[in-house]
Every structure is written in structure tokens, then in C-alpha cells.
Amino acid sequence: MNKSRISYHVLVILMMFTLVCCLHKIAYATELNSLARDFTLKSVDDDNIRLHELRGSVVVIKFLSHRCGSCVASLTELDQLYKKYKAQDFIVLGIQAPAPKVVLPASEPVEKANKNYNSNVVILETESATAIASNRVTEDIVGQLIASAKQGNTPPKHLSLAKVGFPILLDKNSEVQKVYRINDKPLMVLIDRFGYQRFLYQEQASAQRDSYQLKIESLLAQKVY
């Protein structure tokens, strides 16, 4: 095969490659009022969950990162909302960025009080996590944490414990995170019953926290035939 022939083929393949890349960029996800982009991820309980199949429900996508101390409060809030509106087809999806062994299935319930409440344990690090040498939460530390919490001790300061009832999805290749980001900060996305992104929040926008509930309620009020 001659050089010019090869270069022609290489060029065509390059063009096709750029074409595929361009098409990939066409539906950039973070525009308001656009259809939320579909994805399928595996949950911690080993189910595969697809966003398009959740049409008819109001969906909140919350991105979890393992370095977010203030997230605990917002997670607990979200969990309460989830419990309250679950019967009206309200779903929260927590998307976990790939961090080793951060999320565990609830084989051992941590608090004795909520025995019936099937929960996933999410371990979060605060910003001042200087005590841990490796900067990562290892399985041993998690084991210790659970054991000590079972005995009724509060977790050490540099680790927070947030317990949630909604499904947590594992985003191994960070695909979904890449699609839903603006300015490199992960968002919280509210999706209405028809699959449209209606409200977007930057992380830690505490001023907007108060209107979560009202907005979720307004989305829940929409009727689907």
C-alpha cells in the first residue's frame, strides 16, 4: 500500500473519529430545560439503574464526593425528603465518584434505632483530614468506624457518617460526572416527571438550600397521564 493511499485512509478515519466526538458533544447535558441525558449505572445493591426508565418520577441526582464535609447535612436533608415523598414517585440517586471502598452496602446497620430502615453507609472525609496518613479511607478504617459506632461511640472528628436510604450508584469511569459538570464542580440536578432538567445547583450553594423543598414539591405536583 502506498503512502498516499495510507494517508487518505488515515484522514478518513480521523474525520470519522472527529465526527463521533462532535456528535458526542452535541447534547451537552448541563443546559436548563433540556432532556436529561440517559445513563445506566450499577448500584451498590447490584442493580442496574437507567435514568430513562425513571420517567414518571421526579428524580434528584446528587453527586457524592469523598471530600465534602458539609455534604453530610445536605445528605441527611435529602434523605428526609426522600422518605417523605417516596410514595409520590420521588427518587434520589446518589452518584459516587470512583473512590476506593468508600461506599459499603448495609450488611451491618449502624444505628440500632432504625432497624427497619435499609440504608447504605456513606463515609465522608472532612477537609481537615490530616490524621489519616494515606489520605484515603481504607477498609480497615471503615471497619473500625462501623464497629465503634455499633458500640455507641461517635465517629472520630475527621470522618463523618451519613446514612441514606436512597440508591447509590457507582460511576466507575466518571462518565456521568463528566457529562453533568459545569465549571468543574459537580451539580445537583432536579429532573421532572417528563425527564427534563428543571433546576441545577452548584455544590454547597447553601443560599439555595431552602428552596429545594418548594421546588421539589412543585415538580411533584405535575401530573402525568
Partner: protein, 168 residues
């Protein structure tokens, strides 16, 4: 008092009444829908010609027959050792496959000649036992489009699913 009562009734009845018949707009919306379908179809045909010409086109389909013994969890497709696509299956998609649907797993371009195609299949068998199977085949790409079908069949003889990768 009677005035009030009448107003109240009016509001009550109007809430219970049916929606009005908006048929002229309904028809227009239907026409629009038809146009959207035909445009999508034309674009797909164009795309096939342009981006996947039959000299280089390879397409892999997945089908499941019966499926009593097997629940599909994920498939990873590799051509010549390079992962082309990996797909996670929900319950609904499993159901769709069982009802006779076939999934177009992957469409792409490869050069002429012999290629190794591998599919790594993950799923759950009877009694929730986990399965990981890899199935490979060596196929030659000629002038025509290379169409492969990954068949998942139930084999009552061995109480296990059987996987086949065949060419059309």
C-alpha cells in the same frame, strides 16, 4: 345565598368535566410526529452510508431466547483486544430481550482482514449464581458489512445458558 350556591356548584361541575376536544391541533401534532419519524429515518440511512460504509462496517447484535436460566447483567465487547463498548442491562431491558427484542449492541468500522471479536458476559443464573463468560470468534471482514449475532440460549439439557457468536 342562592347566588353563592350556584357559583359553588358551577365551580364544582367544571372541575369534573372532561377535556375539550382539541382535534385540529391534535392532527397537526400527529403530522409533526410523522415528519419527525421520517426525518429521523432519512438521517439514519444517510448516517449508515456516510459513517459506516459497508466496506468497513461491523455490527454486533444481542438476542436472548427464553431466558429462564439467565439474567443478563453486563456485556463488554472487544475487537482485537480493544474494548469497543460496555453495556449494563436493567430488568426492563432483560424483559425486552426475553419478549423477542434484539439489541443492536455496537456498530463501528474495522479494516479488511481477520479480526478477533470477544464478548465478556456477566449475569446471574438460576439461584442467583454469578456468571462471567467470555466468548470469542475470529471473523474475516470482506467487502460486505460484517454482521454478528451474540445468541444467549437456554439449554434445558445442562440447565445452563449457552452462548453463541455467529456471523450472518
Amino acid at each position: 345565598m342562592k347566588v353563592k350556591f350556584a357559583i359553588a356548584l358551577l365551580v364544582l361541575w367544571s372541575n369534573i368535566g372532561q377535556s375539550e376536544n382539541l382535534s385540529p391541533i391534535n392532527k397537526e401534532i400527529q403530522t409533526l410526529r410523522e415528519q419527525v419519524i421520517s426525518l429521523n429515518r432519512d438521517l439514519q440511512i444517510l448516517e449508515q452510508k456516510l459513517v459506516y460504509p459497508s466496506e468497513t462496517k461491523v455490527a454486533v447484535y444481542v438476542s436472548m431466547t427464553i431466558g429462564d436460566y439467565f439474567e443478563l447483567d453486563a456485556i463488554e465487547l472487544k475487537i482485537d483486544g480493544v474494548t469497543q463498548t460496555s453495556f449494563l442491562y436493567t430488568d426492563k431491558q432483560n424483559q425486552a430481550l426475553r419478549q423477542g427484542g434484539i439489541q443492536r449492541l455496537f456498530v463501528g468500522n474495522i479494516k479488511r482482514g481477520m479480526h478477533d471479536v470477544t464478548a465478556v458476559i456477566r449475569g446471574k443464573g438460576v439461584d442467583n449464581s454469578e456468571y462471567i463468560r467470555a466468548i470469542s470468534g475470529r471473523f474475516g471482514k470482506m467487502k460486505n458489512a460484517l454482521t454478528l449475532e451474540l445468541k444467549i440460549l437456554d439449554s434445558s439439557a445442562v440447565d445452563q445458558p449457552v452462548f453463541n457468536l455467529v456471523e450472518f
